[in-house]
């Protein structure tokens, strides 16, 4: 309903694909020579390029080796893409969607009160490092401690009291996002947090096929350096990028959103069967 009223078309794209985006830190599960999608991103962007300006999809995604109280290697994703928009438009739209899904002004998640009706916090990655760590985002990246500090020091403090959008990630953490025109050291990417839990990741889409190819090559090189298997280059996606309009897209973990709304301690509580129960 939310999406229909805004003129979004529901789409379905194949789960099993020959060439996932070659991202350094996301591992696809092989399936008879192809792969199970880690996200419907590439197919949905091809639909944008084919002339569908507002599309959404709820589908299963798979990521190898991801299992914990906040992760299932098979999970449910809500992705939507909007042409002629940037990540700021999506922040507003995400706020509206979460409020509408919650149907209440405030929730309590793991003992933390979260006021959904107040203006949501918006903080840059750079400012979050300054506020919550003893170092800068640049120094942490150089020292290889960026991810640890995010997980240990920053994430637990986001979305407390009210939801938080953390935005403008270092360019190197954003393989498919557009760089900021007035500060190319960061990409126009944000994540949404409620009660310390990451709910969604979004960005203004990179639509330059040449730049996208070189980013993929860099990610593939890192995968090779880490001893991980490679993927075929997603050539049809790269070819379609030339026709893709300016757009922004977002991937929202539906299981995570349900966890927060139901105050679940573990993702296990919001699915009928976990991997271990099969």
């Amino acid at each position: 309903m939310f999406f229909q009223e805004k003129g979004y078309l529901e789409v379905e794209t194949p789960f099993r694909i020959p060439a996932p985006a070659p991202e350094a830190q996301i591992d696809a599960i092989p399936s008879d020579g192809w792969f199970l999608q880690t996200s419907p991103e590439l197919c949905m962007k091809r639909l944008l390029a084919a002339g569908y300006p507002r599309i959404f999809q709820i589908c299963r995604c798979w990521r190898a080796g991801e299992r914990g109280t906040r992760h299932l290697s098979e999970f449910t994703m809500l992705e939507w893409y909007r042409a002629e928009a940037d990540y700021r438009v999506l922040m507003d739209e995400t706020e509206e969607l979460v409020r509408s899904a919650a149907g209440v002004d405030s929730i309590t998640y793991r003992g933390t009160h979260i006021d959904l009706s107040a203006p949501w916090e918006r903080i840059t990655v750079r400012a979050a490092f300054e506020r919550y760590t003893g170092t800068t985002a640049e120094a942490a990246l150089a020292a290889g401690t960026f991810d640890e500090l995010m997980v240990e020091e920053i994430e637990p403090r986001l979305g407390i009291g009210r939801p938080t959008f953390i935005y403008d990630y270092p360019a190197s953490c954003s393989a498919l996002a557009r760089l900021k025109s007035d500060d190319p050291s960061v990409a126009e990417r944000f994540e949404l947090y409620l009660g310390g839990l990451e709910i969604a990741n979004a960005f203004s889409e990179l639509i330059d096929p040449v730049e996208q190819r070189s980013r993929f090559e860099a990610e593939a090189a890192q995968r090779a350096g880490d001893g991980k298997h490679g993927y075929p280059m997603p050539e049809k996606f790269l070819a379609a990028l030339a026709d893709m309009p300016e757009a922004a897209g977002i991937a929202l973990g539906l299981d995570r959103l349900v966890m927060v709304l139901l105050d679940a301690q573990s993702i296990d509580e919001v699915v009928a069967f976990t991997t271990e129960e099969l």
Binding site: E66, G68, E198
Partner: protein, 187 residues
Amino acid sequence: MYTAADLRKGLKITIDNEPYIITHFDFAKPGKGQALYRTKMKNMITGSTLDRTYRSGETFEPANLEDRVMQYLYKEDDHYCFMDNTTFEQIHISEDAMGDAKNYLIDNLQVDVLLFREKAIGVDVPNFVNLRVVQTDPWVKGDTSGSDSKPATVETGYVLRVPPFIEEGELITIDTRTGEYSTRVKG
């Protein structure tokens, strides 16, 4: 050899040549970042706890622990001597490694010995053992001091609180998990 992806609650690994058991485990991964494996673990010798976060690709030596049923023979200086009843092999365990178990050792007691790299790191005694009281003050009838227990020394030298009616020479049952008096053995 384990990798970070094998980490889970209950797994036993070796760090700095000491065995640890993982007591809490969670997987964390910032958005597009690398996988992090967050653990809390307990040193199986000292009981001290440790918080560690690992990255994918890190490897660990398993901690291979062996549990053997053995019989207590005697104490020599600061060592306790035990024998495996099937192989007749004898081992010595230091007073430190014995922990509270030393309070309950009487000849021929069957215990579970936990071994790490062939070195004993812990001794589990039965939950209940019967020990004879060797010293305690007599119960004065009509004592109105209000005290409902008194100290008593048992044959191993261990001192605990017992009810006032317990007399020297009596056999009592002790709960080894708490170290407290449980009941009097009628005999």
